[in-house]
Amino acid sequence: MSEIVLETREIVRDYHIGGGLFRQGRTIHAVKGVSLKLEKGKTLAIVGESGCGKSTLARMITMIDAPTSGELLIDGEKVDIAKKGLTSELRRKVQIVFQNPYGSLNPRQKIGDVLMEPLIINSNIPVSERRERAMQMLKKVGLAPEHFNRYPHMFSGGQRQRIAIARALMLNPRLLVLDEPVSALDLSVQAQVLNLLADLQDEFGLTFVFISHDLSVVRYIADEVMVMYFGEAVEYGTRDEVFSDPKHDYTKTLFAATPRADVESIRARLAKKAA
């Protein structure tokens, strides 16, 4: 029996849009009661179109936003940041990597400082050891020690995403939330980053929540798949279940929309065009 790292029970998030003098306020139900369970060392992929609430769910799991109702359990313990606030112990357990590596790094901060900052905020490790750890992490994600004193603009997109991953791993998290980590990257760079993530998962026993709209990536990386549509989880199961036998209409649409790069489908298309 393996341990459950992350569990949510009927988690809900509403956003209120304030009314004005002439307008009534509205409530947007971004996430409508999602329940999930994730074991240690596994990868859950959350798929859906933009606006379906997958990033909102990620923000709740990362404890950036508090859920409106429902329960969030991390390592079997109930977490409620709305009432009790967020401890550095909890922050250490869950980290996030965002979609746009250009936007998530401070352009005026050197890479070394980027990596050491989580330690300064969340721990009292002395300076020399912080430096040591940052250097090690740089090597782990495939960068070199001489990158320590460089600024983000000196790196390519793939390298910046490596830096963002390194920063997230500095605190030895249990759970890593990846919000579309490769959708801004090229095909070949995307393959490198996906390999890196797989290696790191093995090495640190990480649990991943992987958000994406690219089904070919999901099929490659995920153990479990959740398909979200308008704030609801319309499909949830193991990868093979979802891919071999999609039940919900939206999942079927999604599969049909994914471009196919095999020779047979090209032939079929060309034949159709000639006709």
């Binding site: 997109g157 095909l187 070949s188």
Partner: protein
């Protein structure tokens, strides 16, 4: 006669560290009614070479070519005024970020009519009618109402449709689409690609599709040019490219597709030791 012919195109940028060669001796041609895909990683010069065709590069760029013709007419040494008559009229381009390429201060109706005002003699009412028609043809619901909408009131997919409407306003002979679906979801991507292919088939225009997504190439292209580090690595029709890629770089690129993963690891381009002498088949 080809619609667009480029021979030995080179683009260099003046930078603080000296000259940077972004495009190095690219030759390609597009026929009428043909869909040509240009594939490559970022930095492979695929966008820069098409920006050179449109004359949209900044002054730091030096463009040289043995030949660059559109419908047999030289477009390398045009005066700015002549170029403006062609760009947006006979050759149109759509870009990657639909929301960023529309002007947030003007309604989409104004922006569609602007192109018509520049390139045609239609009067105000006729321009209006044409704008409604265009929006209808790109599948925007309630086109009369949407003319008054600002870009921020529309979704990304809708904005890309408006961009396509602007590009098609004057019935171009050649449409250059620079990563038109990269910023969009798969379901929306499918809709936009279907729309582009549909319009291309209807109007018989030439279409150059710049992308890094092999899936998109497989679904749309007739012919493919693979570019790497500013050079052309391979040119082939789409079927033979996927069936038996000639250059090692193309093979590397195809095997990096997640659906082609063997076992636990994805092969990456750097795993392949390919000589980077470019493929020169078409340059003889």
């Amino acid at each position: 006669m080809s619609l667009l012919e480029i021979e030995n195109l080179t683009v260099e940028f003046d930078t603080a560290a000296g000259k940077l060669r972004a495009v190095d001796g690219i030759s390609l041609s597009v026929e009428e009614g043909e869909v040509l895909a240009i594939v490559g990683e970022s930095g492979s010069g695929k966008s820069v070479s098409m920006l050179a065709v449109m004359g949209l590069l900044p002054w730091t760029a030096t463009v040289t070519a043995d030949r660059m013709t559109f419908q047999g007419r030289d477009i390398l040494n045009l005066s700015p005024a002549e170029r403006r008559r062609i760009a947006g009229n006979d050759i149109a381009m759509i870009f990657q970020e639909p929301v960023a390429s529309l002007n947030p201060c003007f309604t989409v109706g104004f922006q569609i009519e602007e192109t018509l005002r520049e390139h045609t003699d239609l009067d105000r009412a006729a321009r209006r009618r044409r704008a409604v028609e265009l929006l209808q043809s790109v599948g925007v619901p309630e086109p009369e109402d949407r003319l008054g909408a600002f870009p921020h009131q529309m979704s990304g997919g809708q904005c890309q449709r408006v961009m396509i409407a602007i590009a098609l306003a004057c019935g171009p002979k050649l449409l250059i689409a620079d990563e038109p679906t990269t910023a969009l979801d798969v379901t929306i991507q499918k809709q936009i690609l279907d729309l582009l292919m549909d319009l291309q088939a209807k109007t018989g225009m030439g279409l150059i599709l710049i992308t890094h997504d092999m899936g998109v190439v497989a679904e749309t292209a007739d012919r493919v040019v693979v570019q790497y580090m500013g050079r052309k690595m391979e040119e082939a029709d789409v079927l033979s490219l996927f069936e038996k890629p000639k250059s090692a770089y193309t093979r590397a690129l195809l095997s990096a597709l997640p659906e082609n993963a063997v076992g636990d690891r994805l092969p990456t381009v750097s795993d392949f030791a390919f000589d980077d002498t470019p493929y020169t088949g078409a340059r003889t």
